[in-house]
Amino acid sequence: MMTDTAPAADRAAFSALALGVMDDVYRFARSLTRDPSDAEDVVQETYLRAFRSWHTFQPGTDVKRWLFTIARNVFLRSREKSQREVALDDDGAAAVEATQAQEAWVRGGLDPLLDRSDLGPAIDAAIAALPASFRAVVTLVDIEDQSYESTAEVLGIPVGTVRSRLFRARKLLQERLAQYAIDAGLISARQKASRSTP
């Protein structure tokens, strides 16, 4: 445990490294909990645990990866949710059996939107609506720029599972964003259909 008697260098390192990535830890906690208030609780508990065990952090390694792992453990322990996560994963898999025709349809709708600078809130909402296990991999790989290996370690799953969840999550996101484009009137269903025609 690090207390006020801990070396000043340790305290400074904790402040600079761990506290410097609180936004990232919060974003990951949000992906786990889907609830802002619960995410704040996870972040607070994560930092308390990180502070108490800072002496176990190896300098030169990825502090985000270390904190993400703690955050996931905090979340699982507080919710005892690991069993439910498996069920959510199955739901997600069933939801994304995209055919090639569907994929072309989605690409046709989404393609003209991708360069828009105001797409962020729609993407945020689409990520929030993903099944929990999909949200976690998308957040870690696509937003936090973690490798497949790091993501596998943080989530306690094989690299192959990271890869397959990521693929399904991305296809699901694309499908939802294409639907958002129609709902928001950014592209008509007819335009979408014609764009997807080879």
């Binding site: 305290r11 609180m22 607070q44 937003i143």
Partner: protein, 88 residues
């Protein structure tokens, strides 16, 4: 970094598309990267698909810049840490 022993020779459309996300996520070894890129350079269909996925991933990554953390949370965490003895 995914080493792909089956990728000694040129890849076709199926092989390139199977490895597309690995390529964009920088999870392939250098030799496989070159083979997949070579295919993409000569196949308009796969190139268009790769370009779409690359732009899609860039749009998703841009969400990071929006910084969703509530300002009060940082103060709350600092207060909890101080109660534990943190003096930063």
């Amino acid at each position: 970094m995914k080493h792909d022993p089956a990728m000694k020779d040129a890849v076709d459309c199926t092989g390139a598309m199977e490895r597309l996300f690995d390529l964009l996520d920088e999870e392939l070894d250098e030799g496989t990267v070159q083979r997949v890129k070579k295919h993409l350079g000569g196949c308009t269909h796969c190139f268009d698909r790769a370009d779409f996925e690359r732009r899609f991933l860039s749009a998703v990554a841009a969400v990071r810049a929006e910084g969703p953390m509530p300002g009060a949370l940082r103060a709350r965490v600092m207060a909890a840490l101080r109660a534990e003895g943190w003096v930063g």
